[in-house]
């Protein structure tokens, strides 16, 4: 596995993507649900940010919000989302946004079985991505499609280009989707659970391929997953989401070796592997209903380290050590350091 060392770029490089205070809400009977709640993140070229969370934590909705693909009744507020010299994607007319989606920002979703159109050959579908964005003539597009199929390591690309999606395995379809996402040479690639539907050996191949493509094209990669194992091998930085908020963020190694938020600590401790045959260290309770979030920290009801400050108001993000932030009152300078062990 090509595993990059800690952040390869200095923090002085301006970020390609800078999201500030992004919030996406849904009006439901009886209230407003914040699926994404004041999310801020930065991503530089050549860097992979692993966005980790359980189902319903808001990680996919964060990606859709950045792409402005949130369906009504969802509404995105806040920002700005600064991207590649543009001050705020949220301010762009839809016509401009359409030029960015699939061109400057490529994306891959979880389901390789349904994301391809069953009535067109895969070669046509890759070529289509180029034609839509005016990146090639019809003749050039097909030659380019073959190049892309080669780049994503599909054997015998000329023959595969004439195949229909149902003729390909899940892993091959995901390779085709990566080829489509890369067709217009995006700067940012958003991969939302790109390997969850795949078998473990195929998952490893696809993750290696993404890593390779990231390096080859100097991409910024937003890798969204529920699997900390996926992140450990492939991300430079990690952001952990819980109930719509980023509760911890930092360099990948710091998150794994020295997690600060009790939720991150609990997640890492609950992974099987430490002592076969022993009980796992489970996080008690259940993921909260977004419509009935507790008034303070949303992890408070399940947190083994909760104290009197926790239920008062949602905690801000504290910079615990340089480059690592946690939304947890344990790190409030007014709280004595003794609590944070």
């Amino acid at each position: 596995m090509a595993c990059s060392a800690s952040t390869p770029l200095s923090n002085t490089t301006p970020p390609l993507l800078r999201v500030q205070d992004l919030t996406t809400t849904f009006q439901i009977p009886g209230g407003v649900v914040k699926a994404v709640d004041h999310v801020s993140l930065e991503l530089r070229r050549g860097e992979t940010l692993g966005l980790v969370g359980e189902s319903g934590s808001g990680k996919s909705m964060t990606a859709l919000s950045i792409l402005r693909l949130v369906q009504a009744p969802g509404e995105t507020h806040g920002g700005p989302i600064a991207f590649n010299g543009r001050p705020d994607l949220l301010e762009l007319p839809e016509r401009e946004m359409r030029k960015i989606r699939g061109a400057e920002i490529g994306f891959i979703f979880q389901e390789p079985m349904t994301a391809l159109n069953p009535v067109f050959t895969v070669g046509d579908q890759i070529a289509e991505a180029l034609l839509v964005h005016g990146r090639a003539t019809r003749a050039e597009a097909h030659a380019k499609a073959l190049e892309l199929l080669t780049a994503v390591r599909i054997h015998d690309p000329a023959r595969r280009a004439r195949d229909y999606p149902h003729q390909l395995s899940g892993g091959m379809r995901q390779r085709v989707l990566i080829a489509i996402a890369l067709a217009c040479q995006p700067l940012l690639l958003i991969a939302d659970e790109p390997t969850t539907a795949l078998d473990v050996t195929i998952q490893a191949e696809i993750l290696d391929l993404l890593q390779e493509m990231k390096e080859k094209f100097h991409l910024a990669l937003l890798l969204i997953t529920h699997d900390l194992g996926v992140v450990a091998g492939h991300a430079d930085r990690v952001a952990v989401m819980y109930a719509g908020r980023i509760v911890e963020e930092g360099a990948m190694r710091d998150i794994f070796h020295s997690p600060k938020h009790p939720y991150t600590q609990g997640l890492l401790a609950s992974i099987p592997g430490a002592a076969p045959g022993q009980r796992l260290r489970a996080i008690e309770g259940t993921v909260p209903n977004l419509a009935k979030l507790p008034p303070g920290c949303s992890f408070e009801p399940r947190c083994p380290k909760r104290f009197d400050l926790c239920p008062t108001a949602p905690p801000p993000a504290y910079e615990v050590v340089p480059g690592q932030r946690a939304r947890c009152y344990l790190y409030d300078p007014k709280v004595h350091g003794a609590k944070a062990s």
């Binding site: 596995m1 595993c3 359980e54 189902s55 078998d199 473990v200 050996t201 195929i202 998952q203 490893a204 191949e205 993750l207 290696d208 529920h226 699997d227 900390l228 194992g229 996926v230 992140v231 450990a232 091998g233 990948m252 190694r253 794994f256 070796h257 609990g266 997640l267 890492l268 609950s270 992974i271 099987p272 592997g273 076969p276 045959g277 009980r279 796992l280 260290r281 489970a282 996080i283 008690e284 259940t286 993921v287």
Partner: protein, 292 residues
């Protein structure tokens, strides 16, 4: 005597591709044999389509196997009449992967857990009710929620309901088919702990079907690896993980995403052409079998 002995199990499916083409026969389970002791956890791992789920269902005859023997407590399940099979199923139960589709949405959860007693005509109405309350406590659910419907519960709680139903009649074998893979990461450990706790209390044996190798390593005493319908390797779990022999096992283990930044696996890829599918299992070490 082992609790369960599966011998040369075969399940063929016939697939008809087109109107005029000849039907093709697919061997989803191809000559599978293994044994499972009382109170043991035996892992069955493999990728989708490897035949692990079909094997589990053939053992309970939820799918009728094509040939082979399934010997449970010394009796061949495949020779049972319908009545005998119904009786045997008191002792062998299944927990399904998806707690969202495996519970009848129109039944109250009390009825779901009570149903096995009614089917097997066990106990009076009051005895059944008392037992359901007991079962709810045993799996960590609040008996105050007995009269609710499945949709009112979270995924983890639903899986607890599925477990309560499976253990209702005090079985000795539970086929756990990916019992936690549909659950959230933070909930998986809770359900795994519940299964381990119940095993100790009730001396349950589990046939644990899973694709999460980290989990299998954690809870299974012995493990078999399936590939294209066959068991290609079988051993004590630790021996299998420490010293895999079959090319497929090596590839599978090298692909596990480890939640450890310093773990840099050497990826071993599998050349399917290099796998001899007709190689028989042979002993490579004590209680370690591989088709090499």
């Amino acid at each position: 005597m082992p609790l369960l002995e599966v011998r040369h199990l075969v399940k063929e499916f016939t697939r008809k591709e087109g109107l005029l083409s000849r039907p093709t026969v697919v061997r989803a389970v191809n000559d599978v044999s293994f044994t499972l002791d009382e109170a043991e956890t035996f892992g069955l791992v493999g990728e989708s389509g490897s035949g692990k789920t079909t094997t589990g269902r053939c053992i309970l005859r939820l799918i009728e196997p094509t040939s082979g023997e399934v010997v449970f407590r010394g009796q061949n399940v495949l020779g049972f009449s319908r009545d005998e099979l119904r009786h045997a199923r008191r002792d062998m139960q299944i927990v399904f992967q998806d707690p969202y589709s495996s519970l009848n949405p129109r039944m109250r959860v009390r009825e779901i857990v009570e149903e096995p007693f009614i089917i097997h005509k066990i106990g009076s109405r009051q005895e059944r009710r008392d037992r359901v309350v007991e079962l709810f406590r045993l799996v960590g659910l609040d008996p105050a929620t007995l009269e609710r419907y499945p949709h009112e519960f979270s995924g983890g709680q639903r899986q607890r309901i599925g477990v309560a139903r499976a253990i209702a009649l005090n079985p000795s074998l539970i086929i756990a088919d990916e019992p936690v893979s549909a659950l959230d990461v933070s909930i998986q450990a809770q359900v795994v702990n519940l299964l381990m706790e119940l095993q100790e209390k009730m001396k349950l044996a589990y046939l644990f079907i899973a694709h999460d190798l980290r989990l299998v390593e954690h809870i299974c005493r012995r493990t078999a690896v399936m590939y294209l319908g066959r068991i290609v390797e079988m051993a004590e779990t630790q021996a299998l993980f420490d010293n895999p022999q079959h090319a497929y096992t090596k590839a599978l283990l090298s692909a596990i995403p480890f939640p450890d930044p310093d773990h840099k696996p050497v990826r071993i890829s599998l050349d399917p052409k290099g796998v001899d599918l007709n190689a028989p299992l042979r002993a490579v070490a004590a209680d370690h079998w591989a088709a090499v």
